[in-house]
Each structure stands twice: as C-alpha cells, then as structure tokens.
C-alpha cells in the first residue's frame, strides 16, 4: 500500500514524523482527507483536529493555526501547536477555554486582541475535542 510521509513541525519541535496511509487536515476551506498521489497543494490550517491513519489505526492530534504543503508523496504541516491526544492536559485546556471566553466576554480589548483570544479559544477547544473523543470511545 502506498504511503505518505507526514511531518508536523512546530517552532518548539518536530511533533510527528512517520509514513502514514491517510491524513485528515482541518484546512481553512473545510476538512480535507489526503491520500498518497494527492494533487500538489498549499493551504492554511485552522485550529482543530488532525487525524492520521496508519496501519488501520488512527492517531488524533489537536493542532493550532498554520500551513500545510501537500505533494504526491509528502504532507508537511507547519503549525504553532500540535499535541497528540495522550499528552493533552484536559484541566489546563478547560482553564484556557474559560479564560479565553472570559476575555472575549469582557471585550475591553481592541479587535486584534479579541481575534487573538478567539484563536486561543479555538486551540483549547480543539484540544478538548480530541481528548474527550478518546474518553467516549473508551467508555463503550
């Protein structure tokens, strides 16, 4: 089976590097499933859930804002946050959500800062979403 080389980079580290079968990217214009031999493409990424399928199993990562470069054999993702579900600190994410919502509600800040708070909120929500998904599936 052909594979894609997926690499996820953050300014702090290389978060993920492996040969995978499929990757689902939260692109700006909607979620995008990428298989090998995809048409070359670059897109912006919104904070959300990135799903990697490898050997029939899937790995879920919460990712932040960034960019993706897709070629026929490679997917390179540059984002400011990428956390695998098992490393997500649920409590910290919940607190971050509360903090961001608080900031947006108070809205004493300029537009730019509200936008920043909204991005922070989306990122924390993405973490929670990925984390909770695992919970619900393990309960079954």
């Amino acid at each position: 089976m052909p594979t894609l080389k997926l690499e996820i980079f953050t300014p702090e580290a290389v978060a993920y590097r492996d040969d995978v079968e499929m990757v689902l990217i939260p692109a700006e214009l909607g979620d995008m499933g990428v298989y090998p031999m995809h048409v070359p493409l670059m897109t912006r990424i919104m904070p959300g859930e990135l799903i990697v399928t490898k050997d029939g199993e899937s790995v879920h990562l919460a990712i932040g804002e960034g960019f993706a470069e897709i070629t026929q054999t490679h997917v390179r993702v540059l984002v400011d946050m990428a956390i695998e579900e098992r490393y997500i600190d649920e409590k910290a994410a919940e607190e971050a959500v509360a903090r961001a919502q608080q900031e947006i509600r108070e809205a004493l800040m300029g537009n730019q800062e509200v936008a920043a708070a909204q991005i922070a909120l989306l990122k924390s929500l993405a973490q929670l979403k990925v984390r909770r998904r695992q919970y619900s599936s393990s309960l079954k």
Binding site: F9, E28, L41, T43, R44, R76, L78, D80, A116
Partner: protein, 298 residues
Amino acid sequence: MAANTRDIRRRIKSVKNTAQITKAMQMVAASKMRKAQLAAIASRPYAQELSRLLLPFSDAVNEDENLVHPLMSVKADGKDLVLLIATDKGLCGALNTNILREVSRFAPETTEFVCVGKKGVQFLARAKRTVLADFHLKDNFSFYDAQAVAKFCIERFAKGDIKRVVVLYTHYVNTLVQAPSERVVIPVQSFEVGHAELGHDSEKSDTVVKPEVTEYILEPNGRDFLGSLLPHFVCYKIFHVILEARASEHSSRMVAMKNATDNAKQLIKDLTLEYNKIRQASITTEILEIASAQMILS
C-alpha cells in the same frame, strides 16, 4: 593583634558567601543557556520548512504585481522602528552596555522603540527616547509570546510612516563571544531564514532544497496564502532572534559569574595567607616572650 585576625576571619567568611552565590548563579546560567540553545536547535526544522514553503513565491512575486504584500514594500523615507532586545536582570557582564551603545546610532527624531527586557526600557527612559511598548518575556517564553511582540511591530509598520523594522539584539557567536548586531525584519526582502544558526553545527547551513513540484494549488488563493504566511515568517524571525538574545544573555552571565567566582577564590587565598602570617607572627612573639622570661629566671 587579636582584633586584626578577627577582622580578617570575618572578611574571609563574607567573601566565601559571595563566592557561593556567584557559583550558584553561574550554574543556573549554564543550564539556562543550554536550554535556550536546545530550543533554538529544536526550532530549526521548522525554520527550514518555512523558508522552503516560501521559496516558490520568491519567483512568483517578481512576475505577479498582485502578489506583492505590504510587508515587502520598500519605502524611500520614513521612521525606523527599533525592536531592542535587552535583559531583565543585570550581572551579565558588558552585554547590556554593548547593546545599548548601539542605540545612539539611531537619531532620536526618526526612531521609535519597542523594547523587550527591563534594562532596555530603563535605559531608553533615561535617554528620553520614544518607547511605544515594552514586553516582558519569561525565561521559558513560547512562540505565542514572541508572536505578540511581532504582531505589534507588524501593526505599527502597517500604519505607513515606518520605513523599516530593525531588531537590535545580541548575536550569539559562541559561549565566550556575543556581538551586538542588528537585522532588518521588515520589509521582507529574502525568504531565506539563512543566518548563522544558534548551536554548534553552524557549517551545516540552511541549504534549501528545491521542491520537487513547482505548480501548487493554493487555498484559499495565492494572495491570501502569502498574506498570512509572510507575517508568520516575520513572527518566526523575531522568535528566533529573541531565543538567540536569551542564549547570549545566559552565556554572558555565566562567564561573568565564573570570573567573579575565580576572583573571590583568589581573594580568599590571599586573605588566608595574610591571616596565617599574622597568626604565625603572634605565636613567634609569644614564644620569644616565654623564652626570654625563662632566661631571666634561670
């Protein structure tokens, strides 16, 4: 005589205490320097990918006027915005003195400052320069923190009367050598991150490999994509520069504290010698006194 020896003993004790503190600071600085270096090395793959991602645009921008981004526009006149990166704490040798000396090269009328680090703000306030903002970054600052600094600079540039944004920081050459230097971050003229990278394998420069395909579909469109990629590129550059300045700060402090510890040790040695001399002298006089008293008695 007894009072004198007590004085010297007290001094030895206090110098010993100082040596202990400087030694501890040296160790702390060494470990922080290592951390800053590791962070810079860890971010290198990201840097390489980022400039690779931008590479296809360097030709496209020349062909298509439409793609040219405001951050790339070169202006003939306007003010300079200087991002000064100093330290929060002192006791790091001549680092701050050197970097602050560079400030005088910018004329007060045509320069505005954005500052990272308390020492820089204090200096600029004393020199009565225009400071637009100062940022406080923790030791383990994240990319997100640096982004706030970068966004401020980008917004200020977007207002129009700024010609260029210059970062004034301490370039990390090696543990012993740090040179104050400046780098223009806006307007963006080259998409290469290519500068001497922090870390040890500087000869392994950022050789950017040509991508295998050159025709990409861009989502949502070329202009928007580049429009968000470029500010991000500036953010990253500033992030990296701050990391480098931090590594310089810690290595400079480490060296300064090592010198202080060595000096204190030398001082302890000298004082101990002095103390022993006095002690010996007093013993000799005592023996002489006893001997002469006995001679008289016999």
